[in-house]
Structure formats: structure tokens, C-alpha cells
Symmetry: C2
Subunit: 368 residues, 2 copies
């Protein structure tokens, strides 16, 4: 998944200025009428910034649809304008912009804020973590959402789940991975915890923006890269850079997407509009995940038909070794940060008790 979308980042600055401007301008039209204690006349004009490039398939379409649906549901009373990463605020400053009230809303994924809040990564995805259905069972019913919001409370930010990427691909490799030793010295673009695991396994994780990947692969500056999944990888043309082995992912088993809301602005919304936002977030989530499943299945089919692409699973002992290194990596991170430890323990306890059901049902229909 794109972790540093440097290509969309403009200058650092604009959003502090914006905060001042917005504060000066006030917010919305004069009050018209009240009914049932709710001010039904006031129009709330909000801004939402995302971490995605303009026209980024599904991930950027989703917040735009979300805003449109809310406009219809609220009969125009909550009017959200959506800005892609870099259009108003640099992609990786979305959290700060929402936190400081420069904008009311953000759309991204929690692991982008790992530098500020390491524990946030569990609310996105972690290596060998849970897939969408497990993550959402934890968030909605297993106490995950409460933990997530406790974590963001000091920043005056509220988080809501708003979709999931589905299982991401483990990446494009210019050689076949037969044993864990094949990862030693491998120069691979892989950010975040996945990168830390690769490093611990002897590989050489490299940070690089999406815009640089094609050239780096073609020129052999890197030996391998991950990006998102078939849909986005195909759009970036990664399959055209060389001859590849294309593996399913172990490092990002389903990144949950997040809606960020400035708490003070949230508190200023009447109850009906708050509920409209909550339900729209969940509905957008359902649309987003099924869009990813749909487009990824089609793109995989297209990629599988290419002569220079071989799609295959990692060997069992490679996965086993990576799983073990992942456990060490997470435990090492937990030692450094008490918040990380607390969320890790909740996540792990849930995953352990969910796993038998997941295993039983995911094999229920398997006939080969």
C-alpha cells in the first residue's frame, strides 16, 4: 500500500494558514428554522482532505461518494468538499490538519501516523494480522473502536472505520523466492512494519514513493516492490517494468481505512447529522471493500494472462519464518511504547480467539 505518497505532497505549510482563514470566515448560512430541538436550517460547510492522489481508484472515489451521499441525506445541510492529497494539505499531514481544526475531516489509513502514534498501525493493518472480517469484528464488537478513539483523544480527533483494502499483494520480485535466505540482501520497497520485518529477516527495505517505482524496477535499483494489489499495481504499470514473480501478501492482510473528524467540529453537529455521518461511513466501507474485491479479482485475471508475470504463493517455510520474525518485531515495538503494547495485547487476544472460527469456515468449501 502506498505509505509515502510523496508524489502528491506539495509544500508543508498551507494548512495552518487555512485554519486561520476558516476561523475568520465562520461557518455556514444563517439559521432558518428549528424543530425538535434541532437547528434544521443551518448549513455546515466542511472540508475533507485525503491521503490519496486525485483519481486514485476506489480509495479517492469513496470519500467523494461519501460526501455526495451525505449532501443528499442531509438535504444540503452538511456540505463536505473533498480534496485529494496535496490539493489543500500534503497527504501525510492529513491527521495534523484534522487535529488542529484546519479542516473538519480526513480520509486515509491509520498506519500513516505511525511516526506520531505507533499503536495506530493496528487500526490499519499489521503483518500476519487479521483480514477485513476479523478486523471489523474486533472494531465493531470486540472493543477495537473504543481503543482507537482513546488513542486519538489527545489529538482531538475522532476515528471511524470507512472500508478496507482487502488482502494486499506481497509484491513483485525479480527472482523466485524459494527459502527465507532468498530475502537476504533483497532491496525491496516496503514501508512500515512490513519493512521492519524484512529488515530483521536480512533484507534491505527501501522507502520510495509510488511515482518512482516503475523506473526503479526497470533500472534494477530495487529487486522487488509491493504497492497495493492487482487493481492499483496494474494501473501503475508495474507488470511492464520487467519479468516478475507476483506473490500474495503477508505484510498487509487488509488495511482498514479511516475517517478522521475534528472533535470540536463534531460536537458542533446536531444529533441527526452526526448519525448521518456515522452511517454513511459504514455504508461507504461496505462499498469500498466490495469494490476492491471486484476490481482486484478482475485485475488479477488480466495480470495472470501476461507472459512475464507468474502468480504464485510464498513457500510454506518462508511464510512460517516471516510469521516468526513478525512476532519478534511486534514484541520489540511493544517494549518501546506502552500504548503499542496495550493495543497489541487487545488485538492479539481477539485474533487468537477468532482464529479457530476463521480457519474452520475459510476451509469449509475447499475441495482441492
Amino acid at each position: 500500500m502506498p505509505n509515502n505518497i510523496v508524489m502528491t505532497i506539495t509544500q508543508r505549510s498551507a494548512y495552518t494558514l487555512l485554519a486561520l482563514l476558516l476561523a475568520a470566515c465562520g461557518n455556514g448560512a444563517p439559521q432558518e428554522d428549528r424543530r425538535g430541538g434541532i437547528d434544521t436550517g443551518k448549513i455546515h460547510r466542511w472540508k475533507m482532505v485525503t491521503t490519496w492522489p486525485a483519481n486514485f481508484p476506489v480509495f479517492q472515489e469513496a470519500p467523494e461518494m461519501f460526501a455526495k451521499n451525505i449532501r443528499v441525506m442531509s438535504n444540503g445541510r452538511l456540505d463536505i468538499t473533498v480534496f485529494a492529497g496535496g490539493e489543500l494539505v500534503p497527504a501525510l499531514q492529513v491527521f495534523d490538519a484534522v487535529s488542529q481544526g484546519a479542516v473538519e475531516m480526513g480520509h486515509g489509513s491509520a498506519y500513516y501516523w505511525a511516526g506520531k502514534v505507533p499503536a495506530a498501525q493496528f487500526f490499519s493493518t499489521v503483518p500476519f494480522g487479521m483480514e477485513q472480517k476479523g478486523v471489523e469484528a474486533w472494531l465493531y464488537h470486540g472493543g477495537g473502536l473504543e481503543l482507537w478513539n482513546e488513542l486519538y483523544e489527545p489529538f482531538n480527533v475522532i476515528a471511524l472505520p470507512v472500508g478496507n483494502s482487502g488482502v494486499q499483494m506481497g509484491g513483485w520480485f525479480n527472482k523466485k523466492i524459494e527459502t527465507i535466505d532468498d530475502l537476504k540482501g533483497l532491496r525491496m520497497r516496503i514501508p512500515g512494519l512490513g519493512g521492519k520485518v524484512l529488515d530483521r529477516a536480512g533484507g534491505n527495505p527501501i522507502l520510495m514513493s509510488g511515482g518512482e517505482l516503475y523506473t526503479a524496477l526497470e533500472r534494477g535499483t530495487i529487486d522487488a516492490t509491493e504497492w497495493v494489489g492487482p487493481l492499483h499495481d496494474l494501473r501503475l504499470g508495474l507488470n511492464r517494468a520487467a519479468t516478475y514473480y507476483y506473490y500474495p501478501g503477508w505484510h498487509e492482510p487488509g488495511a482498514e481505512l479511516e475517517l478522521l473528524i475534528n472533535r470540536a467540529r463534531w460536537d458542533s453537529l446536531p444529533a441527526d447529522l452526526q448519525q448521518i455521518v456515522k452511517q454513511a461511513a459504514a455504508a461507504t466501507g461496505a462499498w469500498t471493500f466490495s469494490a476492491m474485491e471486484y476490481h482486484n479479482s478482475r485485475a488479477l485475471k488480466e495480470l495472470s494472462g501476461k507472459k512475464n508475470v507468474q502468480v504464485l504463493p510464498f513457500p510454506q517455510d518462508v511464510l512460517q519464518a516471516l510469521r516468526s520474525v513478525t512476532r519478534q518485531t511486534l514484541e520489540s515495538e511493544a517494549e518501546k511504547d506502552p500504548e503499542f503494547k496495550r493495543v497489541y495485547e487487545s488485538y492479539l487476544a481477539f485474533q487468537d480467539s477468532y482464529q479457530p472460527w476463521h480457519r474452520l469456515t475459510s476451509k469449509a468449501l475447499e475441495t482441492e
Copy 2:
């Protein structure tokens, strides 16, 4: 899954009387104000009937939460009262009640109307069909939802997806199933297409309501039964009736739940309330599926700890044989009904193209 919830069915009648009463009473408060062309003063008082027993976990909680959320979002302008199966309309007459306008909404699952619309079963679940993520990718993005609504158009009914049961359990067996021959002569409570497949495999499918299952198992009137999954099976106490082998399901890989809406009443709603209903349906769906995953994983853990219960997968050759018999069964049904054939072809084409992605990703993290 409960296919004939006879225990909740009262007398056949009441809803035709209701239709007359409601028509006579008119609908809602006087108009108060209009803004942006939308009548924001009118209160729409609707009734929703479900196919579920009162207090049926998750499935009956979901429509109640749905109605409550809509009341908040609409600031009381759409006020839906929810009735469990039998409270106002017998569970299996929900579709007719919505179709005839006796009530505005229904909540159930499409295979309950198989007698009237055989093709409807694909919008619920079919043996060896797709799981939740595949089904919803087909519905939201692969043309499924449009087909579903074409199917219901002659009945003046609109359908929206509103959740999924997750993989259901294959049932409780008083003997171990080692080969397909062990199904021969087996007296098993299993309704619908699953029952037809069992019949074709030499078994003896029996129709029986949930309320009768415990006694029938305990007395040996039946050799096996399916119901829903760990959560509901445990609530019904099925594990206490005898000593069991408990298998994951092949016959209902994830029943999609449906929201039914009377078309004329739908057309009478302003655009904002229509959108509120649509988004609430999708949001309720996300909550429902993750609630099922959460509670089923916990209930499975509890059941697995019981001395008289052995949880295990069906042997590969049994599944293979059932899959082949399923194909014959579906093809035979398709020959009888052109609509069934048309929907089957769409479903199968989608499933075939989705399968490689599903397989690849569902094994991505597997290490044993």
C-alpha cells in the same frame, strides 16, 4: 438457517385487514414546511415486518437498530416500527405483505420466497456458492443487485442487501461422516437447495421448524440437523440433545439478508429519506456481518470445549461429491425455470472469475 420458522407463525390473515386499516388511516402528520423542494415537515410512519422470532440474536436486533438509526438521521421524519415474525404478519408471508402494501418494509432472506420466485435463492445463498465478500462484490459491482430488483419488479418490491450471516454450519450429526455413502438414508433436517442436494446424494431431507429440533434429535426422530451457526445453535441448545459431530457448512456459505420495500411507498419518499434508507441498509449490513463473525467465533470456542461435541471438517471426497451433486441440482433447477437459469448464469460467471483471487488471498497467510 431457519427456513420455516413455524414456531413464530400465527394465523395467516391479519395483514390484509391491516392493509385496509392503514389505507383508511392515511399516513403521518400534516405538512409543516418545505425547503429545497423537499417536504421536511411530513412524518412518514412505516411498518416493517421480519422473518425472525422476537429476540432472535443479531438478525432481529439488526432491523430494530436500523429503524432507530433512521429515526435519528431523519430527525423523526421517517418513523419505522419493527415487528418480529408472527407479531403482525406470519414470518413466511413477509414478502407478500410488502408486495401488497400491507406494510412498507420487510427484513428476511431471499430464499424464503423460493416457492414463489425460485431464482431469488441466489440473492440469499446457494450450496457451494460465494461467501459474503464474493456475494457483495457481485451485488454491488457485478450487476447482481440490478438482477435482484428486476426479479422483484412484478411484485412491486424493491430489494436492498442488509447484511450476511457468514458461513453457516453444516450441522450436527450423530455419526461421523467418512464417505458420501454415510449420507445415504440419513434423516436430516435441511431445507431448500441443500435439502435437494442431500436428496440427490441418497439422503432423506426433512422439513422441521426450529422449535422441534431439540426433541427430534434427542428422541432420534432425525439423525442430523443444520440450523444457523455456533451462536444460534448454542442458543437453541442443540449441543445438549446428544453426542455430536459438528461440521462446517457447504450448503449455505453465507446467506445475504434482504431489506424489502414496497415500491409505491418508496416512490412517495423524498430523495433525502430514500438515501437515508439506502445508507442505513448498507451500514446495518456491515454491523450484522461483523456481529455474526464476533458471536460465532465466541460460541464456537464454547462448543469446542464440550465433551460431547467434536468439531471437524468434512472429508475432501465427501465435499467433492457434494459439489458435483450440487452442480447437477442447480442445472436441473435451471432447466425448469428460465429466470433461475438467467440468474444462475450471472452468478456462476461471476463466481468463476472471482475464484482465483479468493483462493489466492484466502491462502496468503496460511502457515499450516
